[in-house]
Assembly symmetry: D2
Homo-oligomer: 447 residues x 4
Amino acid sequence: MSFSALDSLLTGRLFASEAMAAAFSDEARVAAMLRVEVALARAQAACGLAPAALAPALEAIDPASLDLSRLGRLTVDAGVPTIPFVKAVQQRLPPELERFFHKGATTQDVIDTALVLQIREGLALVKADLIAILDGLSNLAEAHRETVCAGRTYGQHAAPVTFGYKAAVWLTGVADAAALLPGLRARVLVASLGGPVGTLAAMGEHGPLVLDAFAQDLGLGVSPIAWHALRGRTAETGAWLATLIGALAKIATDVAHLASTEVGEVAERHSPGRGGSSAMPHKRNPVSSTVILAAHAAARGHAGTLIDAMAAGHERPAGLWHAEWHALPALFGLASGALREARGLAAGLELHPVRMRRNLDATNGLLFADAAAARLASHIGREEAHRLVERAAEEVRETGEPLETVLARATPHDLAAAFDPGPAIRAAAPWIDRALAEAGRVRELLV
Amino acid sequence: MSFSALDSLLTGRLFASEAMAAAFSDEARVAAMLRVEVALARAQAACGLAPAALAPALEAIDPASLDLSRLGRLTVDAGVPTIPFVKAVQQRLPPELERFFHKGATTQDVIDTALVLQIREGLALVKADLIAILDGLSNLAEAHRETVCAGRTYGQHAAPVTFGYKAAVWLTGVADAAALLPGLRARVLVASLGGPVGTLAAMGEHGPLVLDAFAQDLGLGVSPIAWHALRGRTAETGAWLATLIGALAKIATDVAHLASTEVGEVAERHSPGRGGSSAMPHKRNPVSSTVILAAHAAARGHAGTLIDAMAAGHERPAGLWHAEWHALPALFGLASGALREARGLAAGLELHPVRMRRNLDATNGLLFADAAAARLASHIGREEAHRLVERAAEEVRETGEPLETVLARATPHDLAAAFDPGPAIRAAAPWIDRALAEAGRVRELLV
Amino acid sequence: MSFSALDSLLTGRLFASEAMAAAFSDEARVAAMLRVEVALARAQAACGLAPAALAPALEAIDPASLDLSRLGRLTVDAGVPTIPFVKAVQQRLPPELERFFHKGATTQDVIDTALVLQIREGLALVKADLIAILDGLSNLAEAHRETVCAGRTYGQHAAPVTFGYKAAVWLTGVADAAALLPGLRARVLVASLGGPVGTLAAMGEHGPLVLDAFAQDLGLGVSPIAWHALRGRTAETGAWLATLIGALAKIATDVAHLASTEVGEVAERHSPGRGGSSAMPHKRNPVSSTVILAAHAAARGHAGTLIDAMAAGHERPAGLWHAEWHALPALFGLASGALREARGLAAGLELHPVRMRRNLDATNGLLFADAAAARLASHIGREEAHRLVERAAEEVRETGEPLETVLARATPHDLAAAFDPGPAIRAAAPWIDRALAEAGRVRELLV
Amino acid sequence: MSFSALDSLLTGRLFASEAMAAAFSDEARVAAMLRVEVALARAQAACGLAPAALAPALEAIDPASLDLSRLGRLTVDAGVPTIPFVKAVQQRLPPELERFFHKGATTQDVIDTALVLQIREGLALVKADLIAILDGLSNLAEAHRETVCAGRTYGQHAAPVTFGYKAAVWLTGVADAAALLPGLRARVLVASLGGPVGTLAAMGEHGPLVLDAFAQDLGLGVSPIAWHALRGRTAETGAWLATLIGALAKIATDVAHLASTEVGEVAERHSPGRGGSSAMPHKRNPVSSTVILAAHAAARGHAGTLIDAMAAGHERPAGLWHAEWHALPALFGLASGALREARGLAAGLELHPVRMRRNLDATNGLLFADAAAARLASHIGREEAHRLVERAAEEVRETGEPLETVLARATPHDLAAAFDPGPAIRAAAPWIDRALAEAGRVRELLV
């Protein structure tokens, strides 16, 4: 099981992507920590605070040669993995370099900057999936402009829409989230280097220069002041990942319902063994929707933890910083699985237009009640028309007669045109166009 | 009590501002709903879908004349307050206008667009407080550039900083949140008008034109497609409010600790009766910090509810939309109280620099251990220097002797300069400058 | 709107019951605070710490005569409503009694004990609803023992069950929550009286006696030590209310789906105007499910806030205690609405057994695939049987032929008995019996 | 890093115990799944539904021989690890047994019952820690009955208490949580066996007997009806773990503050390397408090996810069940680390009574203001006394004169006795006794 289903051998690959697991592996983390120390050594060498030989000496250390389990055991006492990490690296440096290593930096600088490097990798993976999902959903919206189906509110048939319209709604939800990614990247991909209390005092007047060089070496931005105890960046990242998963959950909610037995308007792409059951040979469970909805249910708690962590005391808090480690990587894991499955849905959802049409007809015209009432209102007033159609709908439910027939008996006004799905199809089209245009604009922002 | 402490006669004014309470009052809500109907009538009149007389007739209705309690009783059955509202308005319209009223719109259009109008008002109040807080904290940072005090990590003295530096950190946290406001406004201040299933089918080819005119009349933006079931906007607003409160909670955490009896470095501004106790005549409880920290503890749950609500099914969900009503206005309420109190702190925090200095000295120089070790490292290597100072610190704790004295015995190297707070003060300065510049830039974005 | 939808004139009655709103009104709160002071006066009089005339003098004060708005304005500075409350009461007491009033108590004693009195009232309302729901669901389970319908997993038809079985599952969920109520009452209905730091030092040796008499006078229990900063009781109450709402949300989830257009197996009881739409005259939206699901989505955040609040510092925290006021009453409000609607569902759900049967048949026998495979396994082995039926199911989906026919071609074994729903009905019966017995046992615990 | 800090090689041992990690390992999970199948085979054999040889054949399979990575890869398609697990086991059984294996059961039966076996192991570990913590805190409370120290409210000195009293409060918080464990065990340690839709239809009339025998074989209880979609048990377990961590977080909050530099009344037990800093040689960071507070900040989100999951649709939901896997094991992990550290605090907290006494005196008698006002009130009335002492406290703050001296000038009444800490010590004693008695009672319930 492992404590997290994302890390389990049994369920990890179901719920998270391999690429994201690699990005947030312990191995990647230690490599990122070493990379951070290299950047610090380079930046300090440029200011004359460290010998030029230090950075190459650090680069020569193979991160894989560090014993992770040993670091982990020492972390139990140290409270932070940086301390055993720094000691382990020190032991591999010659004495004349060792004294310059990690100079003026603090544990949090290494951990937070390494985390930012992992976040950069994670966001790149997210971006690639987002582009693919935007493309897939755009195709769906375009291809099914005229595939008419029921619009549903409160789980009830409301009025006709097209499947292309529904896909365009999904598309807009994803595009809305994707549009925030560039700004988020600019804010969160920021180096942390402040030393014990954030002022880089040990570097004297060179502090700001060292930070700038350090950040540049890593391709990261710079915060105006140390963010050791300013956790808005991580909280924003977490909230964004949770809302991104939320945008995918809207799709999964719809798909799971449309794929349910009685509705049957779509099916997740089937391959042998996919979504089977240990007991029921006929089952094709919607695995993609399941993974996404589980991610959604788990994500919000993590996002909340990151918001909690903003109340960090003074220059570094006892506990709230560490709480982030329980939450932020997990959000990347959850997002990676949800994105992969949403990508699959966007690319391979099976549609059953015949079934959509049959479902439309199942309520004997009630789906057009709104249109009929609107037409009638222009003759007899809005409230009266509403009441008359309400009563007719009642009769339809009881007798199974078509609404059109019942209304023809109840009113002399010709309402036949209300039962034509054509207007619904035409009405949906401009919104699809707008959604496609907006998604195209967002896609440009991403690539 | 009321169910919410924000709405209680006893505690409402403590936890929320009067202006925000007015913005989110039932009266304001109904007035906004009526305003929405006016905009719809105007937009439809412009397209020939409604008579020109409808909008003025609606404008003539005094929202205060609608019986809120009666609407509330009818809402129990209707499930949504729009339905009794629409009926009540219909009854005040002449028959020839009534049939055109609310035509082609749905309940959610009215409620969501009215909500957006209230959000606009709420965000304007937030913005005004933010500017005042940025100004107050900028002044604090500037004024206390050289007021030296202890930097603390894990609750322990770490190394010296200045109070101006601490204020600059607070300032940056608030500026980081404030910087997101213009973008948020652009995304969330968007009209909702889609009709039963989002396509405005009842308006035929005029749908998009009506939406655009409707939005323009209200001074709102337009979403590419109906957002009835796309709740990323409300989720983003909620997450932003929660992170904004989080940025204030960082200040409150620090202030509450700095104001604690043993630390005594600051006090919340005192006025007679402020923060008293029913039992203890000497108490001056930090009421501002209390209000902010309570808001922080309550906010995250609401933000999570809004993320939950993104999994909205089909064209309108049964429950998840309504869950927003339990969460979003409350977040504005919590933010308003927290902002008001933070504004008070930024403008009126009492500082006790003498106490700061005394606290610095209380640990017999341990606060400079880092600086001493750094100097020593250049002579004897980093690891050895760390160990030697660690042992010396132990001795200081046991004997109460100054660290400088103990180290003078332990090593021949001259470490006196390490015990000068001057470098800490100078090291803090450029970060304060950067923070002030960034806050100034953000302030420009807001006004 | 008010900040909380529970307190709004427009939506308050939809989401909360009137009785619960009365129990948590400001008026009820102040009356409870006064009642607490009466109990303290009596207890102190019994120990000779207060004159016998104090309690009657307090009883003579009409709580309605206290100006709530004025108390609220003073609370903005005081930070806690007890302080202006105590002053207002003092002013109504003659000088010779005034000096004994509220003696040795602290603000939190009054607020927390008054809250407990409100919780007692709230839990009594909850209990009454729970009993009604247990009765209603027991009737449903009993009445529909043989009403066969589809069992669904992952939204897909799985195998037949009975509607009585489904109701018995709901019943057990509610009974599981209800069974915890007596224990919860015993733990949470506990007086708070500790004075400034919990030790009742001002009462000297009489402290424990005064607490015991105070609690007894109020019909409350006693905690071994002051719970000013031990908030497990309120956290447990919040978690219980949230899980209770969760048990109701399971029912609402099922009902909303069963009532959806394509399924149509149940309908919420309809009355004129119930669940209508401002646009669509044919709509009957499931208002009860909507209210319950919205409560569920809002409840968990509040429960989390109460768990947060457990990290209360020292003898009273700055913020975490006050955060409870944002959360606990709201949970009672949410629960009251959800319970009322669940009670309505339990008593008045409309069933459509003909539709259930039709839905069973809609998949051409796939619902019996599990039974067929099980029978076949005894002839040809489990894995082989699973594969064969899986292939047959594929054929059924493609051709629309009955599974029984397809299997008859594929295997010589007689599988006709697998397509008889009788065994499913009989298999469900003993579980219904067990559920009814357990619910009966829990009901006895409650009354 | 791994996605969870609990699973990371670098940080896993810091945040979770090894024993708990073993209990929730993938290896333990698969072994538990196999154990579940053995119990099913035995129960079915007893009813004649399976050959007697099946159970021994299953017992002969070494769970370590199953390839976890392979099962994990297959789970990506299957959606649930039971399916590849069942296939892998089938392949090791002779054909004559294979057809009886897993007969009539469903994937969820195996996973949920295996989870319950892991929960049983996890709760046993929790219980052992709880007993040790109760013992340690009882000793602290007893040993420091007369160690006087400041009571603090809102971070301010309020009135004197004893450290034994504070420990007794902590003790009661833990005992309150521990008292719920036996009832929780009875409810949650319950077998899951229901087959595809919960009715065990494939077992005909034997269903209930098989379940009872299955549960008995595993030493588990029985639920009246299948709990596949009734998730109150897991939600209750999660909420309990979160409130347990909350009770520990109260201790950690207090310890972290008491150990802060200016207060210095306690220190976490120090060992070489414990709580060091990579930069600051003098630091002794409170690692235990840090671990506990981080666990607290992370726990509530998981508890919320489990409450969410209660809205499970029909006989098995698509997503909400799986969401539990992201939350429940993590809560056990977080609890295990927090409990281990709390055990360390209870057993080894270093106290500094001299510092406590010095802190008491630091406010020049203000800590006794409450006692002075109470005495004065008996002479001049409550409100007048409060005002007079309030003014005197003001003077003390400005001049640094002792409150006793200032009051002696301001009033002729002799208030000397108010400045004796003796009454505070004596007042605390009976509450310590009550707390010890209650903790003893709870301890008896646990062992």
